[in-house]
């Protein structure tokens, strides 16, 4: 690991100010919350910051507050706290489950919700110091010629990473909003608009500009009659990213679907919302046939690489399972 200076900050404003200052000085600076993700990137020489701004010393940024109509979750709320929060479990089970599926207990006890959403890719080429891949300033995405068994089947090109977050698909399905602090003040945008496809920018995974920090997630409580599920397939039951994950929320009345959300993780460079499948389901009776068809619609246009063709059917089937679970 390259030597760096750690700076404990007391407020978001201070952190934003430091980020701006270091940017002007042309120094590499980054913020960390739990550090479980960023420190690993440093150890692997993927990033080599001059300054690390420690947000954990900001008091009171780890709240989970229930308000009328939803929850406000501070950027530093730990995954384990979200997983175990009684009201979150009761009203946002899909989020609680997704948080509980992330990484391992050790990492969930350190890792924060903002950190989970802002994770860098876990593509093995990206993580290896032996490869200067497209996303790290190189010329090629090695996945194209190399081993892409876990990589994107949707939204890929020119980079084929998949977004590794477990909580992001659940939060997008829930219609969460994300609050961002920056030099120009605060702004709130739908989480769905937070993530960037590589065709837009293949060097970053989200819209955060230099100097900007995620400060809060707002999650509306689903309407009564909604049922949400998070299903994740992986090789290893802990400390493994999704091969395919599916977040489904179905709001139904007397067996008829009023509204549905289908968001996939592990298949695309962003949490992939299957809007056409959602549209198809509206007004349909939820049964095996409609769930199956929704799965097929969701994967229309999938372009698997040579090594990950299996993911298409896996995703279709998992969507079907998620939707039928709402019955």
């Amino acid at each position: 690991m390259k030597s760096f200076q750690n700076i404990d900050v007391k407020s978001v404003k201070e952190a934003v100010g430091l980020l701006q200052k270091f940017q002007q000085q042309k120094k590499v600076a980054a913020v960390i919350g739990g550090g479980s993700e960023y420190l690993q990137l440093m150890k692997d020489h993927v990033v080599e910051p001059d300054y690390v701004i420690n947000l954990k010393t900001i008091p009171g940024l780890d709240y989970i507050k229930e308000e009328r109509g939803g929850f406000r979750i501070g950027a530093l709320a730990k995954l384990a706290d979200i997983e175990e929060h009684p009201a979150v479990r009761e009203k946002l089970l899909i989020l609680s489950d997704a948080a509980g599926e992330a990484a391992s207990p050790q990492i969930r006890n350190a890792g924060t919700i903002a950190g989970n959403i802002c994770q860098r890719p876990f593509c093995w080429y990206f993580r290896s110091s032996n490869f200067t891949c497209l996303r790290k300033g190189g010329q090629v995405c090695y996945t194209v010629t190399g081993d892409g068994r876990f990589h994107a089947i949707l939204g890929g090109g020119p980079s084929y990473i998949v977004h590794p977050s477990d909580t992001a698909p659940a939060l997008v399905a829930l219609g969460a909003q994300i609050k961002i602090a920056g030099p120009a003040g605060e702004k709130t945008i739908p989480l769905e608009k937070f993530f960037l496809l590589p065709s837009v920018d293949y060097k970053r995974e989200n819209v955060l500009n230099p100097g900007e920090i995620v400060t809060e997630i707002h999650v509306p409580t689903p309407r009564t009659g909604s049922k949400g599920f998070y299903h994740k397939v992986r090789e290893r039951l802990a400390w493994d990213h999704a091969i395919v994950a599916v977040a489904t929320i179905v709001e139904s009345n007397a067996g008829m679907v009023r509204d549905a959300r289908v968001v996939m993780g592990g298949v695309a460079p962003i949490p992939w919302r299957a809007a056409k499948a959602e549209e198809f389901l509206r007004g349909k009776r939820m049964d095996e046939a409609s769930a199956k068809q929704a799965g097929a619609i969701a994967l229309e246009g999938a372009k698997p690489l040579k090594d990950n063709v299996y993911k298409v059917k896996m995703a279709q089937d998992l969507i079907q399972r998620g939707l039928l679970a709402s019955l």
Partner: protein
Amino acid sequence: MAQAPKEFSIVGKRTPRIDAYERVTGQAHYTGDIQLPGMLYARLLRSNVPHAKIVSIDISKAEKLPGVKAVIHHENAKVPWSSGGHTHQRFIFNNPVRFVGDAVAAVAATDRHIAEDALKLIEIKYEKIPHVLDPNEALKPDAPKISTNGNLSVGKGAFSAPIEESWGDLEKGFKEADQTFEDTYITKHTNNAQLERRVSIAKWDAGKLTVYASTQGVSNARTDIAKDFGLPLSRVRVVSKYMGGGFGNKNQAQDYDYMAAVLAKVTNQPVKLEFTREDDYIGMHGRWPSEQHYKIGVKKDGTITAVQLDAVTNMGAYRKQSGNLSGTDFYNIPNFKKVIKPVHTNTVVSANYRAPAYPQSVFGFASFLDHIAYELGINPLDMFMKNRIQKYKSKLPFTSNYLEQCIIEGSKRIGWNEKWHKPGAAPGVNKHGIGMALGGYPFRPGLGAATIRINADGSAHLLVGVTDIGTGAKSTMAIIAAEALGIPLNQIQVTNGDTDVTPYSVGESGSRTTSFTGPAVIAAAEDVRRQIFALAAPELKAKAEELDLRDGQVFVKSDPSQKIPLERAVARAGELIGRATTNPEFKDVEGKSFSAHFAEVEVDTLTGHVRITRYVAAHDSGNILNRMPAESQIMGGVVQGIGMAFSEELIIDKLTATPINPNYRDAKVPTHLEAPNVEVIFVEHYDPYGPFGGKVVGEPPITAAVATIANAIFNATGKRIKELPITPDKILQARQV
């Protein structure tokens, strides 16, 4: 069941490790914990090209970095590493480099971060040589040559190639068969992945080299170092007190021990060289991958008449070990022939990993037998029972063989007869399956040595060369000594793993610790008991041979009330020293520990995820000397097998020849959630040749695990997966065929 000749006082109980307290409270000093005054820290630079000549290496910038004390490479540190390769001379740094990961340079600095930074300042010009990654490609005549002898890895003696073995009459065997089956099974390179990364600390004092190693064999490490550095054995000391596991890839001395020694010599300071986890995955070795082609002849009732195995094993760039495949060992095969070609490729080296030649070929052979049973309409339990080995190579008897009881007791415990169903016949999306396979490992006698010192207060000091690689060997030795001496376990102090102090040990690999050194401990105890009895005889007014020692009291056998405390007998001599070197041999018998494993799985045919719902491991390891670590050994071996079955595989990027997942996260060693509750059955008996009736425990438990799980998956799905690891994508693809 054979009975023990006497009742044991401590052998066979559940005894916690004698050093458990130090280990769990952090007081045990592992090699990596050792700090020496003025110690420097070293890091390694490895080749990023698979095959190339180093045209030039410029270390001037690295040397100028403040804190850097030495930089060594192939030109200024041309030290042979004899045990690192047996087909062509291997050095600690090689030119040409032969795989991505071949060591190129080492830096010693005042801290490891500076050493790491210095690596980036080393400038190397490579002249690329064509390379080959696939072992079948490597055998073609026009393939790039990795060894001077070619890519079929031909060394001397145990390292000759191809590895050939045969008995009976193969042609006759196939003629006698009602049906003949042929198929190919494939296994991948998996890493030993022991918790403790490799680490070595070297220092020189007046021409004497001390290496604090993380080795499975202090004696053979010393021999290696002395030979390659041209030193007398008396000038090399190797110490290994506590180890965080090795599973076969820390035996002997390794290149990092040598590099630390060279750096320490050059800088005249102690040097610690610790691998990173990536170094550990690509710089040392893992299990050899294999492509196994079987031809098996059977009678209608499933009886094997002939087996022919043709295989290729990928040894990587250097031949460190055999490359053999021995999964057929547990079956009665009247006519047999195998031809195994260990092959060089420009990939990470493959060598010993727990039961080196077994789990990959038990997977191949036991999967195929299971499949033949299916083709013939035979219940696999009957197939395995019918064909289980009874005599070694159909000829020699075993010292003991309770494989049949393992099959009976294991199948009963898991409820085979109630739970087995036709393959693929389970209803629903989540399919239940049950499977089994046979395993084991050779039990051999050999050279061992031990010294026991009885102190004036009656306490004892046991000196053995063995290192405790995690098996509880230190405790086993103490238990054997306590039993043989007749004094309480807590009166025994064990000093182990230090070539300046402890006697010879063969090396704690190949399940040889208890079977080789155990008899020496017993003999050393007998030696010192004779001395005790001679000293006590006059006071007890009896002949020495009429005396016994138990619970620290010397007494007359015919009248135990006539006794004196041990210390009184010893006091006269100041202290007593018993010693023994033993080297028992088998005559007209063969030794083997056996196992029969059983698993139940639930396969989610929609996601390809497999959950092991039950696991039963029945083992014949003779008499069990200490149940607690013995059971842990079985559980650990099974879990390693689970990793190999489901997820572990070192993946090499084809374009760049670079391993892309050399770490715990991406090579996917199993976690607690993958580990089922392993129900361990010991079919216990007293083996007449083992120390206190014990055979071997450490290597066997991984051997059958992979095949057992694979066969359970077949029973669940009706689809045979012939290539490891059995990942969700393979299960889904098999389903869609």
